[in-house]
Symmetry: C2
Subunit: 279 residues, 2 copies
DNA sequence: TTGCTCCTCACGTCACGTGAGGTGGC
DNA sequence: TTGCTCCTCACGTCACGTGAGGTGGC
């Protein structure tokens, strides 16, 4: 055969770099047709066919081991089909990223403040949690809820685990103007105790963490709702308020948890709002 | 402040790993609120706010330096907007990859052979080339084209560069049944010579390399055309045949090029078909 | 013979994962 | 006091890019 093509010329023909050709040789993808006594690599024009196949597969996003497998795999489409699914998945994720980015830019542009503070809304999943729960209709969110927490923490004391307690807002028109809430104290799922239940999670929820007094919750929940609607989704499932750092300013509140403060300005609270794609 | 949260607990709260928290400290993204005489890192629940912002930006695909810039950037959206464009670009590329992958799988499934050989069709761009060109209507693709090549190579000899010569098929109904072809010999663009012109490139073209006699071209061009149509595009611009390794089996053919063979079975030819999205 | 191309290491990339080997806090 | 958690290196990842320093072919 021949005449032989030196690596530089072959690289120009193939519109790639010398380094890449050497790398693919190391990886066993494209061995030069001739390596004689001199250590020079000599290629053959027919190797452009193999080269073309390699580039095609690389442009489809396959890794080098996968390309090797496909080239020597005798026409099986199994690996290619698996990779197709992978591509479809990442494509959907990318589309989501773009949507989130647009929502963020809208938030920052629409904000009345300038320069607007960077919001911290994001999408997360919520795992299911085993918790000691107390559900009740309360007239307001202040002291009555505090009392429920106190009771619940005391009951769950022996099997409590170090996760943040939270509050579920069950929207229940029948109890209005009272508010239908459920206090949840995470506990060890292995220890049975009356009042324990598995609180279901959510595949996707808007999440927002803020610092300070609870009076902000109302406004922030509204912004969270708007933000979710703006990305083409609808709230689905009860709102949650998760207390990452909270107060012990009621007399007699026996708190086993370790993240406490006495100043309301230091509270750290997470708002969560499960959602689903709008139909 | 306090009470202090140790790195393991903070990692669980933030649903991340200890390693990631240490890494972000190294990168200056999230410094522990306290590092005293002991080398332990102690965090503060309020740092969940910063953490939330970091995760949000990371989930949008920003690099660590970019996240740092956005966090300290005082609410400027410039970097975010730039990244948005980047996301949109890669999204379009991914969509293309998926389309190509589906086309490939169709090809392999529809193929009459089994196991089907891996085709080597792919999309590439064609750069513009300065070439010495000879256009003519020929009755057939055999000897007349050979003669044209011989003439052209001789004329371009002094300024020829080491790139593959090619043939353009201008579809011209007026010349039928003759074929309107143009022979192109790549030359140094700096050297003027009558007959030289800039042959325009193509942003996107289907490309297929094959080995052997030219009689295969017809069939392969058809497959290339089908493949392009199947991905929702239409041929746009003249077909090309690029001769990477070719013959010198006509007497008197003076060939300056270095990639020659005497066996037709060793010819290496690339078919190119520019295309555009169907309207 | 002069250059130009070629050669072989070997480090760098990016955001962490994963040990190795050791010490301090509840 | 025993463990459990914490600590600091430091290598590995993936597909090459980019020198460094040196030798052989037209």
């Amino acid at each position: 055969m021949g005449p032989w093509i030196r690596i530089g010329d072959f690289a120009r023909l193939a519109r790639t770099t010398v380094r890449t050709l050497r790398h693919y040789e190391d990886e066993g993808l494209l061995r030069p047709a001739l390596r004689g006594q001199s250590r020079y690599r000599y290629y053959d024009a027919a190797q452009l066919l193999t080269w073309q196949r390699i580039v095609m597969l690389r442009e489809l996003g396959l890794s080098i081991p996968d390309i090797r497998a496909v080239l020597t795999g005798g026409g099986s489409t199994k690996l290619l089909r698996a990779h197709r699914e992978h591509l479809a998945e990442t494509l959907a994720q990318q589309a989501n990223q773009l949507e989130q980015m647009d929502a963020l830019l809208r938030e920052m542009t629409d904000s009345s403040q300038s320069p607007s503070p960077l919001p911290a809304m994001r999408v997360r999943s919520i795992p299911a949690t085993t918790a000691y729960c107390l559900r009740a209709a309360v007239p307001s969110l202040g002291l009555p809820v505090m009392n429920l927490f106190e009771t619940a923490e005391r009951k769950a004391k022996s099997i409590r685990i170090d996760e943040s307690p939270f509050l579920l807002f069950h929207s229940n028109p029948e109890t209005r103007p009272a508010i239908d809430v459920e206090i949840c104290i995470p506990v060890d799922p292995a220890s049975p105790l009356p009042g324990i239940r598995l609180v279901e999670g959510a595949a996707a929820a808007g999440s927002l963490i803020y610092q300070g007094e609870y009076s902000q919750s109302e406004t922030l929940f509204d912004r969270l709702t708007q933000w979710i609607r703006a990305t083409g989704s609808e709230p689905a499932g009860p709102r949650r308020e998760v207390y990452h750092r909270f107060g012990a300013d009621v007399n007699g509140y026996e708190l086993p948890a370790r993240r406490l403060t006495t100043e309301a300005g230091a509270y750290v609270t997470e708002l969560q709002l499960p959602f689903q794609r709008s139909p």
